[in-house]
């Protein structure tokens, strides 16, 4: 007897690919009747230009489509389900009103190429957001054009380059601490710079002695993250900025961790010349399963001439306009002016909070991280003893003695119903476990997570195999990533 094609589990546990589901003649779409004369396409253009059919594209009904994607969705972990403690990712609750406001027809259907008087609402939203971000970061001017954090980095470094170029020499190097995110060196490279790594000291911060040795007139900028990827504030930042400035170089800040400092301290007040801000982290625009993000860049006056064009201008009569006449601009980094839908959401969040609300956000984010730290520091090895702000980094050093590693702990957390923290980053901490709870978690949720982490610690001691073979309760187990990478299958094809 041959085995049945499907197991007895419901489709919701075993949903096929769209391409395996179609059936000729099914249809989920219809158009209004054509109200202009019909002609054959071949009358209007050379048949050489026309395609025959689209091989493999499925025909589906509306119900098929709804069921398919609803089932897929049920396999995702998401912030509305529970704590999502990914360090340096700031997975916080995304207020529902943000979504509703971005979908208002006047925003969703607005076109940036219409004359200024037809887009005043959109321009006002963008200008207001720029002003708010400038105030929060302590900077002078903001561009909303970059599409994501890494894109903001590139934009910022290109501005650094343009600044040095305008003074006769673009310089050669960008200094980057070894704890930095991988996008930092990659962005610097695309801007045409050589990257030099700055070591961290035993407190987990930049070794300012080493840094001073590395800064010279070839250095265009240092790219720092503050608080850094260990969740530690670079307490010597003002002095570092001063010594960098003394060599005519600039200080770039990766604003990924702004959630730790709103209303507490401002990059513009501790010597930063340019920073990018991740709206999808601090300002609650949703991560969407990996984008769209949004990475505005804020600068001090000296860099303002180099902002991407167009810039939004507030006119004396109270109107707004795009100004394209920017002779020193680095150019455009993206068509039009950024991920506007994300700008609406971020502004909605800022206006919902106000100054006091945002300060409270940062305070509670830091409180929640320190609460986790205090409860887990005996069970897991703290990477550094310095005070934590919005996130705390442990290592798997204690568990590794039983050959239980950070990936095992991460996978086991899934069996307890939690999304794992960021693992194996920052690179300077072997077996890093990086936890950022954010302010939108209750004490109960944190306690449940802490209990799960403590239970896993016991399991690692008493029954390491259980942890090493996790997860045991997810729809699929660990994927054989090596096999997937050796013979990559990147699309469906008929007949497999």
């Amino acid at each position: 007897m041959s085995k049945p094609e499907r197991t007895s589990t419901h489709f919701s546990m075993n949903e096929s690919l769209l391409f395996e589901e179609g059936s000729p003649g099914r249809c989920a779409f219809d158009l209004p009747q054509l109200d202009v004369p019909r002609k054959e396409m071949s009358e209007l253009m050379d048949p050489e230009l026309l395609r025959s059919e689209i091989p493999g594209m499925p025909e589906l009904s509306e119900v098929d489509v709804i069921r398919h994607f609803t089932r897929l969705s049920s396999w995702n972990y998401h912030i509305d389900l529970g704590l999502y403690p990914l360090g340096s990712c700031t997975m916080k609750y995304n207020p529902k009103i943000n979504e509703r406001m971005a979908r208002l027809e006047g925003f969703a259907l607005a076109h940036p190429y219409l004359p200024g008087e037809m887009i005043q609402g959109a321009l006002e939203v963008q200008k207001t957001l720029e002003n708010c971000l400038a105030q929060i970061s302590g900077m002078d001017a903001v561009t909303l054009q970059p599409a994501a954090g890494a894109h903001g980095e590139l934009t910022g470094i290109l501005m650094v380059r343009a600044y040095h170029q305008s003074r006769g020499n673009p310089r050669k190097k960008i200094l980057i601490p070894d704890s930095a995110h991988g996008t930092n060196p990659a962005s610097a490279a695309i801007a045409g710079y050589v990257v030099e790594s700055v070591p961290s000291n035993n407190r987990g911060t930049i070794d300012s002695g080493e840094l001073r040795k590395l800064v010279n007139d070839d250095v265009a900028a240092i790219m720092i993250t503050n608080p850094n990827t260990l969740g530690i504030f670079e307490s010597e930042i003002a002095g570092i900025a001063e010594s960098v400035h003394a060599h005519g170089a600039l200080v770039y800040m990766d604003g990924a961790n702004l959630n730790a400092m709103m209303g507490i301290t401002r990059p513009g007040d501790f010597g930063i010349d340019v920073l990018h801000i991740n709206l999808h982290k601090t300002f609650t625009t949703p991560h969407g399963g990996g984008g769209p993000g949004s990475g505005p860049v804020a600068v001090k006056k000296v860099l303002e001439p180099f902002l991407p064009y167009p810039v939004i201008q507030s006119n004396a009569n109270g109107s707004y306009s795009f100004n394209y006449d920017r002779p020193h601009s680095i150019g455009k980094v993206k068509a039009y002016n950024g991920q506007f839908g994300m700008h609406v959401r971020a502004l909605c969040y800022i206006l919902a909070n106000g100054a006091e609300g945002l300060k409270e956000v940062s305070e509670v984010a830091v409180l929640n991280a320190n609460y986790i730290r205090s409860k887990l520091k005996d069970a897991y090895a703290l990477a550094y003893d310095s005070p934590s702000l919005h996130e705390v980094v442990f290592s798997d050093r204690l568990q590794a003695r039983k050959d239980v590693h950070v990936w095992d702990i991460a996978k086991r957390l899934m069996d307890y119903g939690f999304h794992p923290p960021t693992v194996s980053f920052p690179l300077i901490v072997p077996g890093a476990i990086m936890i950022e709870p954010t302010e939108t978690e209750s004490k109960q949720e944190l306690d449940a997570f802490i209990e799960a982490m403590l239970a896993i610690e016991k399991e690692a001691e008493q029954n390491p195999e259980l942890v090493k073979s996790a997860p045991h309760t997810t729809r699929v187990g660990r994927i054989d990533e090596a096999a997937a990478a050796r013979k990559p299958v990147l699309r469906w094809r008929a007949g497999g």
Partner: protein
């Protein structure tokens, strides 16, 4: 604050358990002289009803009439209701990048389906998980072309979207890449003779867009053949992805020499609203042999250790988090949710629906062009076949719909770029023609 669950009492308990007296102590790592000892100067906090009022008022100040006939890279097409119903599920829109495959299979499978759709539509072997948008996608394609060929000269059609060209310029100008432009001829297409003349063995790639910025359809297969004869790559950019429902894609031909090596572009037309310029969604498709030179994420199909099918981010050693300054791109994110919108759109319209939509676009555009020619004294430029956009040279200084082209093509004077899609009724077109006729 309504988005923060912990009450003051909760917070006090937690402080006590941490062993500190006050919130202030948690910030002891920040030097006192750097602390902000005032509140930020921001607008006062608004309640939910006030927020609704605030944004509704601003939204109403934008003009969104479809009869403005404006396209130029951002298109108004009908967006089926089910797209928003599905992407509004928290499971999709509040999930993070699917690094933990076991609990992100929904996102991963959907991206794999996106990759498949794009490969099918373009006639290519493989497509990535999406890029920020078409303009940055084109810049990435150029950088990829440089990596593959190790050559630095690119011949680029002037009829590529001018803002895309501006973005390419920003990306490449510090990397020793040289861009030379190829003009268009009187029929509104790339000048093939000039292309042949400028091509040499130092040319990395030829970059063309079809339908191009004027809406005319380029002979992409002929252009690919010309490029390949001189060992240059052929890169095709697409701004109006709907056209793939009817036009033969640059990736498909009986002869491989006549197909593109990289097809890149924007799929906003697949169910993503204009949204004042973003978020939209870029894509990049290529041949299997170039897959390791691709920028951006890729989802692969694999198996778990008990043999069940599953999906996972793969070939990530190309990317910044591993290769750092030697990565193929600095891109970290994709436009996952917008790629999902495009995937749902394609599932909904299906091959027949997509073809019909294309026919409506072509026929309505043809109708508008014919009416303007017959009933007004304004001149429709460029004789080559077109998809859903066309250029009109106004005969007088009256108010005119569409996009003024002088900012991008000064030589075209007061010419306007107009766009007609399936959402425009005959009534709207007739009204526009009447306003131009009187």
């Amino acid at each position: 604050m309504r988005y923060i669950p912990n009450s003051q009492a909760d917070r006090q308990r937690m402080l006590a358990e941490i062993g500190v007296d006050s919130m202030e102590q948690l910030f002891s790592g920040i030097p006192e002289k750097l602390r902000l000892r005032r509140f930020l100067d921001l607008p006062r906090a608004l309640s939910e009803p006030e927020l609704l009022e605030y944004f509704r008022k601003r939204a109403s100040k934008n003009e969104i009439d479809p009869a403005l006939f404006i396209g130029a890279g951002i298109y108004r097409h009908y967006i089926p209701i089910i797209i928003d119903a599905l992407i509004s599920r928290s499971e999709f829109y509040t999930a993070y990048t699917p690094y933990q495959a076991e609990i992100a299979q929904g996102t991963l499978q959907a991206i794999f389906e996106f990759q498949t759709y794009i490969a099918q539509l373009t006639g290519m072997d493989v497509a990535n998980a999406s890029l920020y948008d078409g303009s940055t996608g084109l810049a990435e394609a150029v950088l990829m072309g440089q990596r593959i060929t190790r050559k630095h000269k690119f011949l680029v059609a002037r009829t590529v979207h001018p803002e895309y060209l501006a973005v390419v310029d920003t990306y490449v100008k510090n990397l020793g890449i040289q861009v030379e432009f190829i003009d268009y001829t009187a029929d509104g297409r790339l000048d093939l003779e000039q292309l042949e003349r400028k091509l040499d063995t130092n040319t990395a790639a030829v970059v063309v867009q079809s339908p191009n910025f004027f809406g005319t359809i380029e002979r992409t297969h002929v252009i690919a053949e010309i490029a390949h004869k001189r060992a240059a790559l052929s890169i095709t950019n697409i701004c109006e992805a709907i056209s793939l429902g009817i036009l033969k894609p640059a990736g498909e031909d009986h002869s491989e020499a006549r197909t593109a090596d990289i097809i890149v572009g924007e799929v906003q037309s697949f169910g993503v609203p204009p949204s004042f310029g973003g978020p939209h969604v870029g894509f990049l498709a290529t041949r299997d042999k170039y897959v390791r030179q691709m920028p951006g994420r890729l989802v692969g199909m694999g198996k778990d250790f008990s043999g069940r099918r599953g999906f996972v981010l793969t070939l990530s050693t190309r990317e910044q988090h591993i290769r750092r300054e030697k990565a193929t791109s600095n891109i970290c994110t994709n436009q996952s949710l917008c790629a999902l919108m495009a995937t749902i759109y394609l599932a909904t319209v299906g091959p027949k629906g997509l073809r019909e939509i294309c026919e409506h676009n072509v026929l309505k555009t043809e109708y508008a062009v014919t009416q303007i020619r017959q009933r007004t004294k304004h001149r429709v430029l460029f004789a080559a076949p077109r998809f859903n956009e066309f250029v009109v040279q106004p005969a007088d200084s009256r108010q005119f719909p569409g996009l003024p082209l002088s900012r991008f093509y000064p030589e075209l004077g007061n010419a306007r770029l107009l766009c007609v899609t399936e959402i425009n009724s005959r009534e709207q077109i007739d009204a526009m023609v009447r306003s131009l006729a009187s």
